[in-house]
Structures are given as structure tokens and as C-alpha cells.
């Protein structure tokens, strides 16, 4: 039996094509994935991401707990509302999950973790609280009486559309810089996202999600499926957990070195392993020069040895196939490599792993 978000009936009513997404019955598109993709790059679209799991971290030792829990440094969270993208590692330095931490007060933080990893993440966090004997309470907010729905509204017109639907929140959220959040009544509104466009992610009581979804739609926000979400995040060069990294992959080999804070006294789970191993691979972008489509697990053949594509698809913005790939050290941006697609070697160019953001191609 597939799990459903609180918006399941709303998706069906809007003609969504539903698929099994890691055990969740989710909309992959509402007709055309490419049109939904362009809607987000040029206007605005909305995504149901209620399958992701908000986790409230409450107690006197929140900051000490998070400081040891993740590879990024929560000391960077100085202003209430600030958000931080971080990887939670195992002792071997592999990525248990990537997540966003929102700093609210010294005794209250909120984390949002991936859908498919939520149970293991919660178990890991609970175990660490017990092991480190800290005053921290971990509470999931995806299921049960206090469940939250999450709607991501993304695109150049996303902010204006949300102000229209939530005028009472406008004063608090209008000037949010990227990667901040504000709480307004029962709404938790963050200027975060997974598309490379401006916009908000709105958490709200699950029972209110459908009304909000329909109001946004009535104001002209296009419903978008997880298909478009994937091509948008790929163009923006954002990692997908389970594809671009997992428990066997170091964040240093997955393009996440910018989220790993190694140069302070602070200790965190996985630090010793990362320090010992260093960077083994580099995470770069590929643009296919021949016709075809790059996909995860295809082999990339470079002058420095073999690499592997971790995510690939067709880029609706660039109108050609793009990929994120784990390549040997020494490969340079601008190099030409070959990718094995069904036994044929096709030419691809190595680029920085950001293809399009804010409505424009950036390569």
C-alpha cells in the first residue's frame, strides 16, 4: 500500500499522472513535464513535497547536538530564521542524508529531511541524543495529529503569488533573503527550494494544505510534478539523495565540500574519516554533444580513467542532455569525455555542475 500525502485527492482532481515514488503515491506530471519545468523557470509553479519530513529539535542542547550531528557548522546560524544546508554523515564519512536546518531559537530548530530516509534519520538522531546524553527532544511532524503539509512555490513570480494568497504574511516574508524562514501564525514560510529559482516552501497544518493548494492554483500557480522537480534541480546542479550520494559516498566526492566545515576545532560524526580519506573524486557536470540522453550509472571515459554519471536527463532549458557525474581527479572543466550509452561511445563536454538558474542557462 503506497503512502499518500494530504494532497493526494487534489492531485488526482487536477489530472495528475501518479507514480510510485519510493513508496509514495506522487504526481510525476499533470500532462507535460517540460511545460511544468518551463512554468517554474519563467513564471511559477508549485510542488507537493509533503512526503518530506519536518523534524522539530527542541531543548537546551539543540545547538550542541546539531554541531556534532552534521558536517556543516551550525555556528553559521546566528540570526533567527536562518537556514543551513548540511549533510548528516555516518562514522565512515558516508552521507546518511542531506537536509536543511532552520534556526528559530537557541532551544528550537527545525530540520527537513528526505522522504525515503526519514525513518532511519529519526532513529539515528534519537540514538545520538541518547549516546551524547543531551537535553534534546526529536519530534517528527509528517504523520499524526500535528502533521505538516509542505508546498513549494517556485519561480520568478512565486513570491508575488504567495503574498496574494497569504496577505497577512507578506510583511514578514517579502524581504526574506534566500535561505531564511519566518513563522506567521500557523505558517512556516522559508525562502528555500530545489529548483534554482526564487520562491518559498510553505509548511502548514496538514488539514489546511488542500485549501492552500487550490488557492494558489486559482491565483495562477501551475501544479508541477516530481518529474519537473527533478529536471529543475538537475539544471540547478543540486544533488539528489540516493542518486548523487548515499551512505557509501563521501560528501567530498559528491560536490558537497562547500557544506563540510573541516577547518575548526569542532568535531562531528564522520570528520575523522573525511580527514583521513580526503577527496577521491570530483563532482562535475556533463553536457552531451551527440544526440541521446545521459542517465545515472552510465560510464564516463576520461583521459584520467573511468567515472560514473550519477544523475542525467534532458535539460528543457538547454534543449540538450545534461548530467552530474563523479569523475577522476585531474579532469578539467572544458575537457571532452566519452559516455557509454548502450554500447555506443558518445561525446560529452565537462562543465561546472550548474546548468541553469533564475530562468537562464549559465553554461
Amino acid at each position: 500500500m503506497l503512502k499518500q500525502t494530504v494532497l493526494n485527492a487534489a492531485h488526482r482532481a487536477m489530472g495528475a499522472r501518479m507514480v510510485d515514488f519510493g513508496g509514495w503515491d506522487m504526481p510525476v506530471n499533470y500532462g507535460s513535464q517540460i511545460e511544468e519545468h518551463h512554468a517554474v523557470r519563467t513564471n511559477c509553479g508549485m510542488f507537493d513535497v509533503s512526503h518530506m519530513c519536518p523534524v522539530d529539535v527542541v531543548g537546551a542542547d539543540c545547538r550542541a547536538f546539531l554541531s556534532r550531528l552534521v558536517a556543516n557548522d551550525v555556528a553559521k546560524l546566528k540570526v533567527s530564521g536562518k537556514a543551513l544546508y548540511a549533510a548528516m554523515l555516518n562514522e565512515a564519512g558516508g552521507v546518511i542524508d542531506d537536509l536543511i536546518i532552520y534556526f528559530l531559537t537557541e532551544t528550537r530548530f527545525r530540520i527537513v529531511v528526505n522522504a525515503g530516509t526519514a525513518e532511519k534519520d529519526l532513529a539515528w538522531m534519537q540514538a545520538k541524543v541518547a549516546e551524547w546524553k543531551l537535553d534534546v527532544t526529536i519530534t517528527q511532524r509528517r504523520d499524526g495529529a500535528n502533521a505538516l503539509g509542505i508546498i513549494a512555490v517556485q519561480g520568478p513570480n512565486a513570491r508575488a503569488k504567495v503574498w496574494e494568497v497569504l496577505p497577512q504574511a507578506k510583511a514578514a516574508i517579502a524581504d526574506l533573503k534566500p535561505f531564511f524562514a519566518a513563522e506567521v501564525d500557523q505558517y512556516f514560510i522559508a525562502s528555500t527550494g530545489y529548483t534554482g529559482e526564487d520562491g518559498y516552501e510553505i509548511m502548514l497544518p496538514a488539514g489546511e494544505a488542500e485549501a492552500m493548494w487550490n488557492k494558489l492554483n486559482a491565483s495562477g500557480v501551475a501544479p508541477c510534478g516530481l518529474g519537473a522537480r527533478d529536471t529543475l534541480r538537475l539544471e540547478a546542479g543540486m544533488n539528489l539523495y540516493g542518486q548523487d550520494m548515499d551512505e557509501t559516498v563521501s560528501p567530498l566526492d559528491a560536490g558537497l565540500a562547500w557544506t563540510v566545515s573541516l577547518n575548526t576545532e569542532r568535531d562531528f560524526v564522520g570528520k575523522a574519516a573525511l580527514t583521513a580519506a580526503g577527496q577521491q573524486k570530483q563532482f562535475l557536470g556533463l553536457v552531451l554533444l551527440d544526440k541521446g540522453v545521459l542517465r545515472g550509472h552510465q560510464k564516463a571515459i576520461t583521459a584520467q580513467g573511468e567515472g560514473e554519471i550519477t544523475s542525467g536527463s534532458f535539460s528543457p532549458t538547454l534543449q540538450q542532455s545534461i548530467a552530474l557525474a563523479r569523475l577522476p581527479l585531474g579532469v578539467q572543466v572544458g575537457d571532452e569525455v566519452e559516455v557509454d550509452i548502450r554500447g555506443k561511445l558518445l561525446k560529452a563536454k565537462v562543465v561546472k555542475p550548474v546548468f541553469a538558474r533564475n530562468g537562464k542557462a549559465v553554461i
Binding site: 499522472r17 513535464q33 517540460i34 519545468h37 518529474g227 541521446g292 540522453v293 536527463s313 542532455s321
Partner: protein, 128 residues
């Protein structure tokens, strides 16, 4: 509900076939298949003159979402390919029965009789 024209034959692997007056068979993917795949962005066609046994991979259609093999529904030799479909993969989404992929001369035209009719294929599509 997808479109399943009554005048065509079908394979359970979601190809349609049309027997032409000259004895050749035109092959494409069904409306159900294009809908399941979503926006097509790449079509790889077989070589003209190549022979394929039944159920062998003969072409590839890729959507934004995934790559899917197209199988030779019956044994035969490729006589023509539709380059227009390869040049504009979205044409298959627009009309899967107009945007054919290739034509073949069947080894044994009676093989067509073993393929699904529209009602039988509709049942396959509904169960998918």
C-alpha cells in the same frame, strides 16, 4: 483513457502495427506508451536493411523521465525509418499513430495474425 485504433495490430510491449498494401508493416509506439513515458526527447531508429527477430530491441525512445526499448513485434527486415520522428520526438507525444518509427518487411506476414487486436491491447493497457 488512451486511444487504441481498431484498424491496427498491437504487441503487449506497446508497439502498434499497420499492414500496408505493399506487404510492409509500419510500426510505432502506442498512445498508451507515449503517455506513460511522458515528454519524449530522443528517438533512436534502426538501420535500414537490418534484420530483427521478433521481440528483439530494435529502437529506443527516451522521455525526460526514462529510456524505453522498442521491440520488433514480428521478425523482419527494416525497409524505412521515419527520420521526422527522430528529429521531432515530441511528434510521437502529439500523435503516436501518425509519428511512426519504422517500416519492415515481415519474414512471415502471417505472424501479424498472432498479434493483439485493439480490444485485447486495450485490456493490456488498462492493466498496466
Amino acid at each position: 483513457m488512451s486511444n487504441v485504433p481498431a484498424n491496427l495490430k498491437y504487441a503487449a510491449s506497446h508497439e502498434w502495427m499497420l499492414l500496408n498494401a505493399d506487404g510492409s508493416v509500419t510500426v510505432g509506439i502506442t498512445d498508451h506508451a507515449q503517455e506513460a513515458l511522458g515528454d519524449l526527447v530522443f528517438v533512436e531508429l534502426p538501420e535500414v536493411g537490418a534484420h530483427f527477430d521478433a521481440e528483439k530491441e530494435i529502437a529506443v525512445v527516451e522521455s525526460v523521465k526514462a529510456a524505453a526499448d522498442v521491440y520488433a513485434p514480428i521478425a523482419g527486415t527494416v525497409t524505412e525509418v521515419n527520420q521526422a520522428a527522430a528529429d521531432a520526438p515530441e511528434s510521437v507525444n502529439q500523435d503516436a499513430y501518425a509519428a511512426w518509427l519504422f517500416k519492415m518487411t515481415p519474414d512471415n506476414v502471417a505472424d501479424l495474425d498472432k498479434m493483439l487486436d485493439a480490444a485485447a491491447y486495450q485490456a493490456v493497457a488498462d492493466a498496466a
